[in-house]
């Protein structure tokens, strides 16, 4: 059986707080975390703040060393030959740190110096990537003058410079404006189409839902779910769907009647002025009963919109609605 591109097996990591060289406190960051990322996937790594996403990424990229377990790239333990394996990884950290006095070309040349690349290749690749990421015109500008979005794009160029097999992005859209987020998504999709495997961590569920093909949910350092987005959607759809109704004359009596029915729950009520918005979750087969019941009780229905089953539902269910912030 072919090995996964990236595989984590029971990875454990503790953070140690030291005072005068002695460990005075230990915090568990990863608790026997196992996950697999196959070639060609865009893998969304989801979890609330403090769940262990960044620690996992730091262990994969070699910034931190795991206490136990193994991290394999194409079946080879990353620690056995970290030089070769790091060559297979492109990494975009959440907090971008670049030398402000260098321009784009100098920055790319500096980081390219840590890969086995020829000078002509570096120059060609740099110009190609800067063009692809919309930084062609700013190639000679000092990085210190760049906006956060531009810095992220340059950091992405650095991550792609050596043509990695897997691109790892830690909260790639944090701090970006909607236009920047959209542009980044489009670039990532393009790269994936060309065969690049992507692992991105995020706590922005819509982002993951929008772009990822597979998702892993982590909480308290443990992987609690790993599945394709498609499968998650189907599962949710089977158990319940979400319906948004724009109505008039909806009162307490109507509400009680709906709630009494098994399998229906009202999750949100909004006053829109002339109308009211009611968001329900219910089994698909109960939709006719709901409409009939409301019409019979003189509630005027202006629109019925099925809402897409959100990853948020799964996320909240799986993580128990916790947020460690």
């Amino acid at each position: 059986m072919a090995s996964s591109l990236l595989e984590l097996v029971e990875v454990q990591k503790d953070y140690r707080i030291r005072s005068f060289g002695r460990v005075i406190r230990t915090t568990k960051a990863l608790d026997k975390l196992s996950l697999k990322v196959e070639e060609g996937q865009i893998f969304g790594f989801l979890g609330p703040n403090g769940a262990g996403k960044t620690t996992t990424i730091k262990c994969i990229t070699g910034i931190l060393k795991s206490d136990s377990g193994s991290i394999k790239i194409k079946g080879e333990n990353i620690e056995n030959n970290s030089f070769e394996n790091k060559n297979k990884i492109g990494f975009l950290p959440e907090q971008i740190g670049l030398y402000g006095n260098l321009n784009c070309i100098e920055t790319l040349s500096f980081y390219a110096g840590f890969y086995d690349l020829k000078a002509e290749t570096i120059e060609k690749r740099s110009l190609e990537l800067l063009g692809l990421l919309g930084l062609g015109k700013d190639a000679e500008r000092p990085v210190g003058e760049f906006s956060l979005g531009m810095k992220k794009r340059l950091a992405l160029a650095i991550a792609l410079l050596h043509e990695p097999q897997i691109l790892i992005l830690d909260e790639p859209t944090s701090g970006l404006d909607p236009r920047g987020v959209k542009a980044l998504r489009s670039v990532l999709r393009d790269l994936n189409t060309k065969g690049l495997t992507i692992l991105l961590s995020s706590h922005v569920l819509s982002e993951v839902q929008e772009i990822c093909t597979h998702v892993g949910i982590i909480n308290n350092g443990k992987l609690i779910k790993q599945e394709s987005i498609q499968k998650i959607r189907e599962k949710v759809r089977k158990t319940a769907i979400r319906l948004s109704l724009r109505v008039k004359n909806f009162n307490k009596k109507n509400e009680d009647e709906l709630i009494k029915k098994n399998g229906i729950s009202i999750i949100e009520k909004n006053d829109l002025g002339k109308h009211q918005q009611i968001i329900l979750t219910l089994k698909e087969k109960l939709i006719p009963w709901v409409t009939d019941n409301l019409v019979k009780n003189d509630v005027q229905i202006f629109s019925i919109e099925p809402q897409d089953t959100s990853l948020e539902d799964v996320f909240m269910t799986e993580t128990g609605g916790e947020n460690e912030d």
């Binding site: 070769e84 790091k86 740190g97 006095n101 110096g113 890969y115 086995d116 950091a155």
Partner: protein
Amino acid sequence: MKIKRRLNQWNNLKTWQPLIIAISLVMVVAILHKAHWELTTETNPLDIWKGKIVTKGDNETNINFPGNAGDSITFKGILVTSPRFEVYNNDSIVLSEYSKDEAIVYDEDLYGKTMLNLSGMRILINGDLSGEFFESEIVTVKAYIIENISYYSENGQNITLNREGWEALPEDIHLASDTDYYFFGTELIILAIGSYYSLNRIQNLKTQLKFAKHLALFEFKRGLKAPRMIVLGSFFTIFIVGIGWLLGDLQNSTSVFAVTSGNDGILRLSYFSFFVVSLAAIAVSVDTIHKERQSNTLNMLLARPINRETIVLGKALGLTMVVGVPAFIAQVLGLYFMTVAGEMPTIGCMITFLLFGQVMIFTMVTFQLCLAISAKNGADVVIYGLGAWLLFSVVWTLLVYAVSFVIGIDVSAQNFENDPEYQAIASRLALLNPGFVYQMAVGLFTHRTISIDFEGVPGWLLLLSLVLWPLICLRIATWLFKREMRG
């Protein structure tokens, strides 16, 4: 079980096994070296000298040593005074006077002979050793017990001295380094072989060295443009050049600060160089890791296929060049102005002044890197750096006084600095200060051999210290930096 665990530990050290074996062999050679001297020479000449039996009769004094006339012993010791001051001539002795210290009666036969002071023992050499051997050199002397009779008067009474004394021929005196070099050479060859095989076992060594060079050049270019380096570089250049000129000028002076020779001038210049250059070395490396951690450039670097060891090495080399290149220019200018105004030091001394200067800068940079890696915030890094500079450059002497006081030396006595015990403490403690190690190492090369004794510190130990300082600092810095990885 215990053996199995030890074997596992040994197997885990696969890369360093040849070096560990080499170091073990070097230690064996060092023991053999020591044993060679202990077995073939008398290494405590003073004990023999103190063992003489002096008996006094009415008109007779007898001086006897254990053993018989004609017996010989090869002594190994330090020339406490320069032989050129110990040559007898009609100006230096009063004829027919008995010298208790030298256990001899002065007579005309002694003219042109040298009374060697070998670690406190007196050996009469049948020849003039001026310019042949020098103070502090470690030598071996094959001496014989000679009997003679001489006469002197004491309190108006004529006394016969039946003397046994130690005498030697000039050709029986040799520098200990004539033998030491064979042992040191063997040790160096073993160490070189061990290092070669260990380095060969490091994965991707060539690539990592290429990365270190890349990072070092980057740090160098960046550091040279840094405002603090422009200020400090200008400051230390003016300072070193000015001091160089002053030390040259003082060679023609009669003041208490007079410089006795070009070599003396270079020794003093090395102290002043350390004073300012170490500050620059600390200042440029004070926040190198910490700042990169804060600005997140470190994580960008760590995600590349570069080892943490290589990062520390690259940064240390780069920062050494940032300070080292301007310091080298300043030192050359300082030397030029010193020689223009005064005497020319020896070439060897000038080369070591410049070369060891770079080693000293590398040491200070790696020392500061250790502090910069372990510091938790920016303020800590600056305080640690400043503290280290003050300790090594300014308050070290106070520390030596304090240690001397604790071990019972009266540091309030007049001229206590001339007390041999105090000097021995000061010399040994100096090995813990990279500035003094630099100065003493330059001083070592004002001599023709490394078999020199610096108040209890032999020359080889000084050179070992010069090499170990940067290596240990580099090792600690990489260990601290790698420890971060464990979280």
